[in-house]
């Protein structure tokens, strides 16, 4: 009689024990095998490799819609920025300049915006209108969606990879200060690029003393992926235009160190600009900040 008075609590205890045992087994001892994962879940270093491979493939086939489809796998919030940042990192590490250039090229192409692509199903040969697949939509039955980009035949879109400007470098040329006395740029015989503009910029919005470079063709259109070489006493650095597409495809910059004198030229050949050094600007209230140099190279 006394036992019956204890009620059914032992059943609840058993259920809880069972639940705990089941969860320990399912989550810790034998979790569900993780196969069929998505590129968005990859470790960051593998994502970088995947992204670099997309860029390299893009430079090989020039197929921007396909590259965009693939980039969506990775679930980046801002695809162009991710590409540009990785290009900068790769360039800084110096491991694979061609890869950095490929990433830069793709960043520029993506920044200009993809043109709508006409996709053709290889099964039905019926033209389909490309519908951007959101990264979230990949959580579906295998092979339903997204349709692997590789089975789609896309029409090339030359306009998407052209270097026509869509954005301009709005951050620059806000205020023009008095240039410090420097030597006249040294003309190089047969140089494909000449200096069209050399201004000292006083703009408090610019972070740090910058060496800003704009590269244009004969018609004034920005040129991306142009390599600039900056040298100083005991050092050298290379950077490419177009890695900050939000500032223009022909734009690039370099952060100078106060007290260091720099020389800059373009790798393809250009006039050499000597004696560039950070100088200070002054606000009407008397506070001081670092100004920047703006150099505009153009094909003659």
């Amino acid at each position: 009689m006394r036992r019956d008075e204890r009620g059914p609590w032992y059943l609840l205890t058993g259920l809880i024990i069972g639940l705990i045992l089941g969860l320990v087994y399912a989550w810790l001892i034998s979790p569900r095998e993780y196969r069929d994962t998505y590129p968005a879940d990859l470790r960051a270093s593998f994502k970088d490799q995947f992204r670099a491979m997309i860029a390299v493939a893009y430079t090989a086939n020039g197929n921007l819609p396909r590259a965009l489809d693939r980039l969506e796998y990775l679930g980046d919030e801002n695809i162009a920025r991710s590409l540009a940042e990785q290009a900068q990192r790769t360039l800084a590490e110096g491991n694979s300049p061609p890869e950095a250039q490929a990433l830069g090229l793709l960043a520029v192409a993506v920044g200009q915006g993809a043109t709508p692509a006409t996709l053709i199903s290889t099964k039905s040969s019926t033209p389909l209108t490309a519908i951007p697949t959101s990264p979230g939509s990949i959580q579906t039955t295998p092979f339903e969606s997204p349709v692997p980009a590789s089975i789609l035949t896309t029409e090339p879109s030359p306009s998407a990879v052209s270097t026509s400007p869509t954005e301009s470098a709005t951050r620059i040329a806000l205020a023009t200060g008095t240039p410090l006395p420097t030597r006249t740029p040294t003309p190089t015989l047969g140089a494909p690029f000449v200096i069209k503009e050399k201004n000292f910029i006083c703009d408090q919005k610019l972070v740090g003393p910058l060496l800003q470079v704009l590269v244009e063709d004969q018609s004034g259109a920005p040129l991306s992926s142009v390599e600039a070489i900056v040298t100083w006493d005991g050092g050298e650095d290379h950077f490419f235009t177009g890695l900050k597409p939000e500032l223009g495809n022909g734009y690039s910059d370099f952060v100078m160190t106060p007290g260091v004198v720099y020389t800059i030229r373009l790798a393809e050949g250009s006039e050499i600009v000597l004696d560039l050094t950070p100088s200070e600007c002054e606000t009407p209230s008397g506070s001081r900040y670092w100004g920047s140099w703006l150099l505009r190279f153009a094909r003659p």
């Binding site: 089941g22 998505y38 590129p39 593998f46 590789s150 089975i151």
Partner: protein
């Protein structure tokens, strides 16, 4: 005795519910996965990218290094799996041809002859 039987029954019931929850309803969410765990169509697309790059640069060592992202699996096997999937789905003929070229080239690839990186 009857109480013990009921106790064991509810323990088993709890285990079943725990497994259901841990395996089906709320399984362990894996992040930072490796490429070897990617779904086959994504793996195949990566291999296709390698094939596209190989078509342009003809650098077999580089292609093999790029395929090494999948771990210890030999490059020839990785490409073979991709070709099988590409043929089953099927991918565009031009893409299958790219995979086929890469597979053929890898047949002659000897890892021991690869130039070491500086």
């Amino acid at each position: 005795m009857k109480r013990w039987i009921w106790f064991l029954i509810v323990v088993l019931l709890g285990v079943a519910l725990g497994l259901l929850y841990g395996w089906v309803i709320n399984p362990v969410k894996y992040v930072e996965t490796t490429p070897a765990t990617l779904r086959i169509d994504y793996q195949t697309d990566y291999v296709l990218m390698v094939a596209e790059a190989f078509q342009a640069d003809s650098d077999l060592n580089l292609a093999a290094r790029r395929l090494a992202i999948f771990g210890d699996t030999p490059p020839t096997e990785i490409v073979r799996q991709a070709m099988i999937f590409a043929a089953q789905y099927p991918y565009a003929e031009s893409d299958q041809e790219l995979l086929s070229r890469l597979a053929s080239a890898l047949q002659t690839w000897n890892p021991s002859l690869e130039t070491p990186l500086p």
